[in-house]
Subunit: 290 residues, 2 copies
């Protein structure tokens, strides 16, 4: 691989250390540690791993966590009641409902229940709108983390072509918004599953952010030589040569490292940044009470 | 000109007639005509023309209007009080504050004061966020009108390259959101004043929406042969050959009509659609009370 490896673990660790210092400062000011409530509905194994990692990162940074678990059979009304109890609890600064929620519950409704001032995932319509209006309150964690990586590696954005593959509310759309915002100033193309010519679209990117949800979709001949490639995907695929019988891959084939100028690995690229940004949003939410 | 001329006047007239029928139906249901309040601060001559046109269109469609005028010296607090009085008035369904507001007032604050359920301009953060989340309550009028024109002229969007020039909250950003939304499915690039290569970016567009605010910026060699070009700009420029000594032009040079497949004229393209969509949003707001 000739590309510079963007080390998300190192950047995230630095950011988490900053959060720890800031959390301690905020704690002195408000008389308690910043606190995050994580609501987990059902038994999705990946969600359990994510939630465990969030709790661990919070503990290391001096952020209290409240673990709210509801059964897979939980009704929409029961989940709403749980969210509203946390909304009203002044000792909790941040609140997220781990996705996905069971099929019987509409995630769009859930996003609207969360107090926007505690919405550290940045998915409440008001926070989505504040970001799109250029006055963000909470930036969704994954795109915020991707932008941090670009900054930490001094990758210029102004006037350059950025391509975002994927148009989800959680990654693709806010990523496109951030990249096109004043001060970042990239020319942004958002491609998606209905784009006829994803390969050609990717080829024009100086900065390529892939959140397509398709394992190793982006091949080396999709990438402009020297481009910065940010891989948001994470998939577990079978691999008999590994002790576990499987390995983690992203949306970008590893061979892209022979063409790109910068590349995030999977794991160890975007993933650690997402948690660091969640910490940052939580500490900021608490800090606003100071 | 070889391009098909997209006649915004005709499409808007048809839509206004539909609004008239719907307004009458809603009036029977809620016991009064749908009502729109327009708040105008100061003496901007163009704003006075726009507001007069809005009142006239409402009157023709059977929508009541309330005309609220405040002096240029109006403070932020006075404007807020006026907005809140309208928010609380159950006999008013839609409310807009005509832009621009005087320099002493922050338009971002004004947007947040308006009751989101009366925000027929669709600029309150919550409504911006609902649009970006794929569950719109009110779509901003100008981009909604542009999309209507594409639909009325059977211009395909799915999997095609759309380019939006301009990243304003009122036009560029919601236009990019609409074009990339599920069901519309264009691949959308948003270019802007900091894009280094606007000409090349425009050249890739099957659908080109220009809201750059620069008179006749887009020249024929910027446009792919056969592209659909939507011109959102409107500027009055000096022209001694005209009786008034001036004429109206858009962001697109008229000679683009020799290259494009479809082109909106200025005036008579996007402008009339903006008012028709305002009517539609107002009648819908009233209809939700039925």
């Amino acid at each position: 691989m000739t590309a510079i490896r963007i080390d998300g673990k190192v950047v995230a660790q630095r950011r988490r250390e900053q959060c720890r210092v800031e959390a301690s400062r905020v704690a002195q000011s408000i008389g308690r540690a910043p606190a995050l409530a994580v609501v987990l509905v059902g038994d999705d194994p990946a969600s359990h791993v994510y939630v465990r990692n969030k709790h661990r990162a919070c503990a290391e940074a001096g952020v209290d966590t409240h673990d709210v678990r509801l059964p897979d059979s939980c009704s929409s009304r029961e989940l709403r009641a749980a969210v509203e109890r946390i909304n009203e609890d002044d000792t909790i600064d941040g609140l997220l409902v781990q996705l996905p929620v069971p099929d019987a519950i509409d995630p769009a409704e859930v996003r609207g229940w969360i107090d926007p001032s505690k919405d550290v995932d940045g998915l409440h319509p008001e926070n989505v709108g504040l970001l799109a209006s250029g006055t963000p309150r909470f930036v969704p964690c994954t795109p915020a983390g991707c932008l941090e990586l670009l900054r930490e590696y001094d990758i210029p954005t102004a006037g350059r072509e950025a391509v975002v593959i994927g148009r989800s509310l959680i990654v693709g759309r806010p990523m496109a918004t951030l990249l096109s915002t004043k001060g970042v100033d990239a020319t942004v193309t958002m491609g998606h599953s209905r784009s006829g010519n994803l390969k050609e679209i990717c080829q024009r990117a100086d900065i390529l952010v892939v959140a397509a949800g398709q394992a190793e979709m982006v091949e080396p001949d999709w990438v402009k030589p020297g481009a910065a490639v940010i891989d948001v995907g994470i998939h577990r695929i079978a691999d008999a040569s590994r002790p576990r019988g499987s390995r983690l891959v992203g949306d970008v084939a590893p061979a892209v490292g022979e063409v790109a100028g910068h590349l995030t690995p999977v794991p160890g690229g975007v993933g650690p940044m997402t948690i660091a940004m969640l910490l940052q949003n939580t500490v900021e939410a608490a800090g606003r009470k100071a």
